[in-house]
């Protein structure tokens, strides 16, 4: 296990290095410069800015200096937000995105798994159909439609929750639902189809014929086998939810990290592009690592880190 963890750590560092290098090259390869605006600034001022941010140095020098600073935990300044460094941006916006993401993840897991399990156990009944209609709606209604609808009914009409912005727990409810809905639907559908598959297996029939009560059959033998694919998608899914999403943050005016992923590219804000990409990669890689460990815990047939049996 220890060897497995250390191997994965080395992989993480190598992967991050590759991501940084590729991002660095790609972002300098796309045309457009960070300081251009509709009104062109005098050449002198642009020169001063370029010098100020060290962009006048050759690219390899910039690259090495960036890596050096990164190792010291300094992700650089932001070109477009003069009063925040990239570290500031990550520090102040990640907790918001992470909290929203965790709540959304909780909603999607709880309701997604429940819906999927119930639907499969009540296969081809009204319960099943209702659950699956819900799931299809969840998959097919995009955030950009769902979020304003939630605001319209639950905030503007019924006044149950604030319309938007960030502050109290009440502020987090609607965005968490909007953010978790799609994932919930995906999990519900996945869980249902896996459950149905497992329920049709011989060993379930054996278990039933042995006289095990149905709770034992479902809990011990079906769910545990059916949940594996859900665990697999949990890695990328939670990384995506935890690091912030542009649309939900825009609609609910939430100070999360999501918009920086998009705006930094539009603004050619190089340090922010790199910073957010590194952060996202690190979260994604870590999540996949946890998923690998979870495999071993849930299914004893999978021995993490042991290549020979």
């Amino acid at each position: 296990m220890l060897r497995f963890i250390s191997e994965r750590l080395i992989m993480l560092i190598v992967t991050l290095w590759v991501v940084v290098t590729l991002t660095f090259l790609l972002m300098h390869a796309i045309p457009g410069d960070p300081f251009s605006k509709e009104g062109k600034m005098p050449a002198v001022i642009k020169e001063n800015l370029i010098k100020h941010y060290g962009l006048d140095r050759p690219l390899p020098v910039q690259y090495v200096s960036y890596l050096g600073n990164m190792l010291h935990g300094d992700l650089g300044p932001s070109f477009s937000s003069k009063t925040q460094t990239v570290n500031d941006i990550i520090k102040s916006h990640v907790p918001v995105s992470a909290r929203l993401g965790l709540q959304a993840l909780f909603i999607s897991l709880t309701f997604g798994l429940s819906l999927g399990i119930i639907a499969s156990l009540k296969h081809n009944t009204a319960v099943d159909y209702t659950a699956m209609v819900l799931a299809v709606l969840g998959v097919s209604i995009p955030n950009i439609v769902l979020a304003p609808l939630l605001i319209k009914f639950f905030a503007a009409e019924l006044h149950w929750f604030p319309i938007a912005m960030w502050g109290t727990f009440a502020h987090t409810v609607l965005p968490s639902i909007a953010l978790g809905m799609h994932a919930m639907a995906v999990i519900a559908r996945l869980m249902r189809s896996n459950m149905l598959e497992v329920l049709g297996q011989d060993y379930i029939r054996t278990a039933k014929s042995k006289g095990l009560n149905s709770f034992q059959v479902v809990w011990r033998h079906t769910i545990r086998n059916a949940i594996m694919p859900v665990i697999t998608i949990l890695g990328p899914l939670s990384a995506a939810l935890l690091t912030g999403t542009f649309v939900i943050e825009l609609i609910f005016a939430i100070p999360g990290l999501g918009k920086y992923f998009v705006q930094s590219v539009t603004n050619r804000d190089y340090p922010v592009i790199l910073g957010t990409t590194i952060f996202y990669s690190a979260v994604l890689i870590s999540m996949n690592f946890f998923v690998d460990i979870a495999y071993g815990l849930i299914d004893p047939r999978i021995k993490v880190g042991l290549k020979e049996e």
């Binding site: 457009g32 062109k40 600034m41 001022i45 937000s81 009063t83 605001i151 005016a253 815990l297």
Partner: protein
């Protein structure tokens, strides 16, 4: 088997407990932190209260990129800066300069119009109690010009003697024409006569900064705790991407004129959400949502006000067939601007038949636009102009013509409508081409286009900010227009302080620009806003700047 199922149970339990604990924490801490935060359902009761809370809720839409006057460049930052800082003058509700309206009590101007001596008020203080001194101004202005500061808006200070030279490293700070003669006297020397210089001193880049505070900490402007201003309000909270809060500054010299206790700027950038907040009284003033603009103006709920800016198509005068002036005139004439504004945009914009927008010359006695009238030939003449131009070029068939714009649904709609008009009124098929914004700027800058979309917002309130961009070789001269006669009018206007001479030269310049039709004006920008009826005393200047200094709630 048993062991694994225990693990699963445990994991689920952990997830459950964590989430519940998490949610609980959130609720608890927020209740403690913000007891005053009202839930939407409380709002109607708030209104019934006899004494109206003087708390104005605004929407900045986005995070202000900088609240340091030295590095701020955008409308969002300047709107907030306007109430937490104050320059030598503060424009009044008619956008006029009056002595004593800002930090300066009065001033003397030398005969040649090059030297301004400002006398500061005696009782002016910073929000931390320090007196505002002439040294603060000198320090602030030189700081903007300092190449080390790398301020985008350093060029707003190029009016000062040796300003540009210092900014480009060819002169020292001591050479710059701003000097504190004593604590309360500031002497400013200009590079050339600038009749609108007093207007400029009200502009954000010309605000002072507290020398002691800035020298003590370079990051002073990044945090409400360290921020020191001299305006009617003081910055009390700044949660990035979330909210800026300012409260009445008891150290402000004219605090009796300030009626609001508190202003907050939310950062809600989604049209639908901000409109719902406005309807729910969570916002007092906001920009009208795009989709509903037309409807809201018709219903009288939204107000459209012109701002100093225009939207135009530029012709590349170095690329066939737009090397020919008649062909440019034909393409400009064939655009039905009324239709673009009323059927495509529907946002209260004003069709443009000239370049300089209305309201650009408040201190010249007459409005340049009104003097000039419409300068674009009638649509009915378009076809004849095209034929004349083609005959001059000696061609019987036009080459493929492409109109470029930066990728956006709005620009696309306009381009498609105008494409149709060219087809109908000129019989010409024009292709459309779009590029992502920053790439587009590069393409336009290198002149790799035939026709392209551009827009311009005035840097200051004077026609010159619209006209001097088209001098030969000018940085924003996208049409690559080169006309010695035009350059002559511009330098003539720039060399004098006599408003009559300036007006005459600028009138001639615009007439020539539109006769040569280097650009095809399309419409003048307007800002469409929503404002609750109980909000009074909001001052909106001609250039779109809003001042909440004297605002109150009834």
């Amino acid at each position: 088997m048993k062991k694994a199922s225990k693990w699963l149970t445990l994991m689920l339990a952990i997830v459950m407990v964590a989430s519940i604990g998490f949610a609980g924490c959130g609720g608890g801490s927020s209740a403690g932190d913000e007891p005053a935060k009202e839930t939407p359902s409380d709002t109607p009761q708030e209104q019934v209260k006899p004494a109206v809370e003087q708390y104005l809720k605004l929407n900045a839409r986005t995070e202000p990129p900088s609240l340091d006057p030295g590095t701020a460049t955008d409308a969002t930052s300047f709107t907030i800066l306007r109430v937490i800082m104050e320059g030598l003058v503060r424009l009044d509700d008619n956008s006029q300069v009056t002595p004593g309206s800002g930090m300066a009590e009065n001033w003397d101007i030398s005969e040649d119009g090059l030297t301004y001596t400002f006398h500061l008020k005696n009782d002016v203080k910073w929000s931390n109690g320090d007196p505002v001194t002439a040294q603060d101004f000198e320090f602030a202005w030189k700081r903007v010009l300092d190449p080390e500061t790398a301020a985008d808006y350093a060029y707003q200070m190029y009016y000062l003697k040796n300003g540009e030279a210092y900014n480009s490293g060819e002169a020292t700070a001591d050479d710059v024409g701003v000097k504190a003669l004593d604590d309360k006297t500031l002497e400013v020397t200009l590079e050339a006569q600038t009749p609108y210089f007093l207007q400029l001193t009200a502009f954000g880049s010309y605000y002072p900064v507290n020398k002691k505070v800035v020298e003590a900490s370079a990051d002073w402007a990044a945090d409400a705790a360290t921020y020191v201003g001299n305006g009617p309000f003081k910055l009390t909270a700044w949660a990035h991407d979330s909210e800026v809060v300012v409260e009445k500054n008891e150290n402000y010299w004219n605090k009796d004129a300030v009626k609001l206790d508190k202003i907050s700027w939310a950062m809600v950038n989604d049209d639908n959400t901000s409109y719902q907040l406005y309807l729910n009284n969570d916002l007092h003033v906001d920009a009208a949502p795009h989709e509903l603009t037309y409807e809201l103006i018709q219903k009288g709920e939204a107000v459209s006000t012109p701002i100093l800016g225009n939207y135009y198509y530029t012709f590349n005068t170095e690329k066939e067939p737009f090397t020919n002036k008649y062909i440019r005139q034909a393409f400009a004439a064939a655009i039905d601007r009324e239709a673009v504004v009323n059927q495509v945009l529907k946002g209260g914009q004003i069709p443009a038949y000239g370049f300089v927008p209305p309201g650009s010359s408040p201190d010249m006695g007459v409005d340049l636009r009104a003097e000039l009238g419409d300068l674009v030939p009638a649509t009915s003449e378009a076809k004849a102009l095209l034929e004349k131009g083609m005959a001059e070029l000696g061609i019987t068939e036009l080459p493929t013509i492409t109109l470029s714009y930066n990728t956006s649904e709005g620009h696309k709609k306009i381009a498609e409508a105008i494409q149709q008009m060219w087809k109908q009124n000129l019989g010409v098929d024009v292709e459309l081409f779009n590029q992502e914004w920053k790439v587009y700027l590069e393409t336009m800058g290198t002149g790799d286009y035939q026709m392209g979309r551009m827009g311009w917002l005035g840097d200051y309130i004077d026609p010159m900010t619209f006209l001097d961009m088209f001098v030969t070789g000018g940085g924003n001269n996208y049409p690559r227009y080169a006309n010695a006669e035009y350059d002559g009018y511009i330098s003539q206007a720039k060399a004098t302080g006599d408003q009559a001479v300036r007006l005459d030269a600028m009138l001639k310049a615009e007439k020539l620009l539109l006769d040569d039709m280097a650009i095809a004006p399309i419409y003048y920008y307007t800002s469409v806003y929503l404002q609750h009826d109980n909000v009074k005393g909001v001052v909106r200047h001609g250039d779109g700047a809003t001042d909440y200094t004297w605002t109150y709630i009834e």
